[in-house]
Symmetry: C2
Subunit: 513 residues, 2 copies
Amino acid sequence: MGPAIRSKRTRRRRDALADREHSAPVEMPSRHGLPPAEVLTAEQIEDVHAYSTRLLEEVGIEFMLPAAWDILEANGAKVDRDSGMVKMDRGLVEHWVSKAPSTFDLKARESSRDISFGGKEIAYGSVASAPNALDAERRRTVGSQSSFRDLLKLSHTLSTCSFFSGYPVEPIDLPVNTRHLDCYADLLTLTDKPFRIYAIGETRVTDALDMVCLGHGINRDELREAPRLITNLNVNSPLRVDAPLLEGAMEMARNGQIVVVTPVAFSGAMTPITLSGTLIQFNAECLATIAFLQMVRAGAPVMYGTVFANVDMKSGAPILGSAEMSTGMIATGQLARRYGIPMRGFLGSSSKAPDAQAAYETMICLWANVLAGVHCVFHAHGLLDTGLIASYEKAVLDSDLIGMMQVVSPTVDFSDLDEAFDAIKTVGPGGHFLGADHTMARYKTAFHTPLLSDWRAYEFWESDGAKDTAVRATEKWKELLDSYVPPDLPAGRAEALEEFVIRRKQEIGDMDI
Amino acid sequence: MGPAIRSKRTRRRRDALADREHSAPVEMPSRHGLPPAEVLTAEQIEDVHAYSTRLLEEVGIEFMLPAAWDILEANGAKVDRDSGMVKMDRGLVEHWVSKAPSTFDLKARESSRDISFGGKEIAYGSVASAPNALDAERRRTVGSQSSFRDLLKLSHTLSTCSFFSGYPVEPIDLPVNTRHLDCYADLLTLTDKPFRIYAIGETRVTDALDMVCLGHGINRDELREAPRLITNLNVNSPLRVDAPLLEGAMEMARNGQIVVVTPVAFSGAMTPITLSGTLIQFNAECLATIAFLQMVRAGAPVMYGTVFANVDMKSGAPILGSAEMSTGMIATGQLARRYGIPMRGFLGSSSKAPDAQAAYETMICLWANVLAGVHCVFHAHGLLDTGLIASYEKAVLDSDLIGMMQVVSPTVDFSDLDEAFDAIKTVGPGGHFLGADHTMARYKTAFHTPLLSDWRAYEFWESDGAKDTAVRATEKWKELLDSYVPPDLPAGRAEALEEFVIRRKQEIGDMDI
């Protein structure tokens, strides 16, 4: 057994032990908690399909990139080159959408971190793209490389987090044109969990592709064989796809990397106020963009992405974690399954603090994701304030919510029925099971222990400072951040990445890329 | 139109308006959020039935009341009069359990408050039986008539609360032998929502039956025709039913009132540590007790009650709102439907404060109740500290969780598809729906507004005191309590109840009843 192998085993054991101490599930990504629910009838699903495709036939969708028009026209779409409006008939949409694969993997540097999409697993990611960080002591601060690295390390320690949905927080103190280089270097060295890149324009994507090859020790051909990066293309709803996002997504698709297509479906503002109307617009936007990406490269891995929300009709502000959203999420899950395309969900809250509102909004989202049958969940560790805040405390809180949800089982193990029967017979009326053999054989692993829940008697809790969940979450993230150990990295990789970053920074200089 | 009718209409309108101001759903009891989920296979359901009935055949269950033995023996059960152990064979259990009705109503003084059990509705009740009250200012105080009345009034104002699961808090300052008289007088005058009585011994039940007749203006024959009271019989798990509870439940059944049979199924302590073992013991206890109550009066309305929880294996303390419990609740829902008996659930938390833990534990319970297909939910407004605390803030918080859950819809309205299509066409790329006709026609009622959620921008929230959900809950319960208006009561009823209470207090005196 060579030293590399030994080191890997040792690390795995150390991780497993650390996980057990946190009492969070060791297995990642998680099982589905329960089978998907259904809120649309079979007829309604076909209604959505019919109205969505009619929308693309009669109204069309605006693609803001001329390079995309050529591909679309070459494949039979009608493009109005003055307005950028693209019309596709139903058959064309169906033809190309059917080429999207129904399962694929996102490979990590270590295969133990690989993620499968399209099966029964749900992979939960970190919070992403927040302009602000928040913790109990420093309060709200503008995102920086320091908080970016903190949140990277914190999510690396959380066993429920299996990938990074993006930069946990925007490091505003780094120059915008080379920020991606520093961030991807960190994402490839401070953690070995896979991550989502921001595919904004071709240059940034090319840099990311080069860097993941350096970090994973592979070449571009190997990269094209299996996805190691994921990105998100937000449709600028209603009915518009922006140029830099199209350019980036095309480059990702050409290289066989994963593109999540996510219309910003905020009912009442970016989509109609009714769920019915939201579903047809949302589905049209997904289908058109997915069809286009399949024209770029047939079989490119894509996902059907939802960030269902509605706006507060008093203020126009979007709300994450509203009750209405649950029904919409479950409905889009049915649509994703109709097309056989893996689905991306999200967790969110509009609360400004890691309080009861944060917990109930996130929990309603979480159940909606599970019952929608999603395959991956963006923003699942730390989002507050509708995405404007990445919270240290909330990252830990979310890990607990997810850990609890992973315990909700779709099946019940009946293998001990006879043993249990005998235990009941032996204990009998007036007895208790605390010391029964049947209990003693199982008590260590029987129940899940969340990170934050305080189950002690009131008097103990009070004499220990009457700490609410938010206060305990502060203690817990500090403890986790202290326990952070960087992942092993084969010799030379960090140096190669550093060289690359230095060279590219010189090349980019002050360019507006 | 007579004055009584006018007064009723006026009150209904006033209630409806008050409800709209609170933005909580007006309709009560609520619809099911989603159809029930399933975690047991059809074969496993029959396994539970087989092992449960075998348990009653081979081991039996202890009934601690000799008067019950006579009835059991007369109907074919085998009673060991030394130990009180009762054995029933499978056929006997099945015969009597099949006599339990699958639907019935709990009638209120006003028919608008009536509750149906066994259909698609879920009725959520108040917290009950807590020894302590908790609010942000007075902190934890021993329950008193003052906090009892406060919590009665507060739950009366909450539109999500359709009945009282018992005394919201125990008024410890009232003498224990006549406490029920004062409490039932309050429950019949300060609110017109139905309530659960404590059927502990025959005397208290008889008093309650007399008092509900006085309060509702009916006689004992009318009372026997349709239930107006509900009680809860906790099986003293494992396998024991206490004498005073049996005596009280028998008196309720004889009078056609509702008895909920609820084994205390705390896995690891009162039932086996595995869900499989818990299910067979729990089901055996339910079946035996329900069969017995059907022997007392065939067709007596009974419910299959669950308080699934597990104990913390470190301390032995029960935990309400654990993840494991969800699977158990859903499984018991399948059992209740197998027997065609309406099911009672619960909401709970082990948190000591109305914080994130309180919200996530209660939310996991709430989804479990909905997915279990329960018909009524005890302890749904205000429970903290595993039932040891009735919290003013938590009552409001729970109302919000329930209000949100009532919005999660099992179906989607597609009646506006053409209108929505036209709205999307009209708005087009780059537009928004905020001012669209389709939006304007619906925005007032489109989305649910919770009582406590703060959806404003961070800056507004911060300059307004950076209040977390718990602080906002304090403001809200004060506002609700201030808005409390007692329900109209026909002339003479309050006086009749007062006279009854005075007379009975004299009769009872210092007796130990």
